[in-house]
Amino acid sequence: MSRPTAPDRAQYRMRYRDVFDRPASSRLAMPAMVMLATSILVFGLVDLDFSPARLWSGVHQLGWISLMMLPPDPGSSLPLYLKALGETLSIALLGTTLAAVLAFPVSLLAARNIVRSGVVRFPVRRFLDSIRGVDTLIWALVWINVVGLGPFAGVLAIAVSDFGALGKLFSEAIEAVDQKQVEGIRASGGNALHEIRFGLIPQVLPVIAGQVLYFIESNTRSATIIGIVGAGGIGLQLAEQIRVLEWQKVSFLILMILVAVAAIDWISSKLRFAIIGRRAVA
């Protein structure tokens, strides 16, 4: 362990010129980017009314809130909360199932290997894209306007927004199938419906089932969120308890949600592996 001696250094400098003497543009690129990012950050902090005093008083308040959250305690409303949790899970399950049922036929129309003409495919794809572009929460507000407050609006909101996402994923799965099996069916005299039923569906069903399960999992979270704007379930209870500052109940509800989501994750990953075997879900 000895430092390289002076002649050594000169030698290294000669040999690795591009390491020792980088051009100014590449040396300055990083600091310039950092400067730019930081200046936008500072501008943002000022523009969004961040002030140390506000931050401090907020953190202070947050400390109080966390203290008041302990210990988590449902009070006398545990049955109500359990029912609300059941409602949330139902919303996720029904919404996703409805979305999958609606999305499958549409995804056939959006798949390149089923519908050759772009005239049908492009409008269908753009339609799915635009549905996906609108957030679930916005759909929830729209459905609340239509069918009134309650979990049913939540089911429909999840169904519509996932219809867009699943339609796209399904059509990608369909495009990835092995065309040989479909050709085999055609060669033995099957018509277009037979091709789909016997050539296509056996191939895509495991993939689709995996995706649907994954969506049920992630929709348990979404279903919690849409409750906050009034679409039923545990999110509604959570929002109400936060508004009336019942912090012990709030922390209990958050814990309930976390446990439920973890449980669903676990169950669905078991099911997923049972259906598609131990390989990654696309």
Binding site: L62, L137, V147, R221
Partner: protein, 294 residues
């Protein structure tokens, strides 16, 4: 072709047919059972979620006509006949949209910095102590499994109405999500450079700085850009609970039935999100090539 298909003798064929039939019956039985269980669960869920098909059918017309109405101006004309009237509040909405984007930028950056600070502690191969890794991991898990809108609800009470609550909610959620992704990137890093740096007598911090960081920094930047994309979507709805940005305008328009405003704001949000998706996608492929993509 003149070849004949050979047919097995009857005895052998009967046995094979029997086995085949049994296998098919067993499979069908299993799928039927699974379908029945699934249907039963669905029915229970439908009762739990107060599904009412009659309401749906009665009001489905409303749903369709809702879109008819949001595409109509107060004067009764279609929105696209008069853009000036449709986007009458464009300057205010653009300002709110700018606030939303700025809030997601600040939130993403704070979250990324916090995740950066924590992720070496959470990764299997670089964590200095197992107990520290456990604590940091649980912390990140908590931050990412509580939805950001719940954080926003609490922060609105603690910090007051306004974009500050939204920024902090986004920052915390991003810390959780990015911390996990970052630590996975670190776990995939090659450990031989670390050994090299260690052999020169360097401490933990220098090991991270000179051996791990150069390998992972591209992955970090890619994930952060991706997160920014997601956060813009999230920030646009955080306004629903009073955390600033365009969401506040949208929720007011929806609740007060200002129909054409709803469609105008929605169009602006969708277009903005679309533009940001495209530009971050372009930036990512530009900066890191295809392999750097998440």
């Amino acid at each position: 072709m003149a070849s004949t298909v050979s047919i097995l003798p009857q005895v052998q064929l009967a046995a094979l047919n029997e086995t085949y039939r049994k296998a098919v019956v067993q499979r069908r039985l299993r799928s039927a059972l699974a379908a029945a269980v699934f249907l039963a669960v669905l029915v229970v869920a439908a009762v739990g979620a107060e599904v009412n098909l009659r309401t749906l059918f009665t009001y489905f017309g409303n749903f369709v006509s809702y879109f008819d109405r949001i595409l109509k101006l107060d004067s009764g004309a279609r929105v696209w006949t008069d853009f000036g009237d449709w986007f009458w509040g464009w300057d205010k909405w653009l300002r709110m949209l700018g606030e939303t984007i700025l809030a997601s930028y600040v939130g993403t950056l704070i979250g990324a910095v916090a995740a950066f600070a924590l992720n070496f502690l959470a990764a299997e191969n670089t964590s200095p102590a197992p107990w520290l890794r456990f604590v940091v991991r649980r912390l990140l898990e908590f931050a990412r499994s509580v939805p950001s809108i719940v954080f926003a609800l609490v922060f609105v009470i603690a910090f007051g109405l306004g974009p500050m609550a939204g920024v902090l909610a986004i920052a915390i959620h991003s810390t959780g999500a990015l911390g996990k992704l970052f630590s996975e990137v670190v776990e995939n890093a090659d450990m031989r450079p670390v050994e090299g740096v260690q052999s020169t007598g360097a401490g933990w911090l220098s090991c991270m700085r000179f051996a791990v960081l150069p390998q992972v920094i591209a992955g970090y930047a890619s994930y952060t850009l991706l997160r920014f994309e997601i956060n813009v979507r999230e920030a646009s709805v955080l306004g629903f609970v009073g955390a600033g940005g365009i969401g506040q305008e949208l929720v007011v328009a929806i609740r007060k039935f200002y129909y054409s405003d709803v469609s105008a704001i929605l169009v602006m949000i969708v277009v903005t999100v679309f533009c940001i998706d495209i530009s971050t996608g372009w930036l990512r492929s530009r900066l890191f090539g295809r392999e750097g993509r998440a």
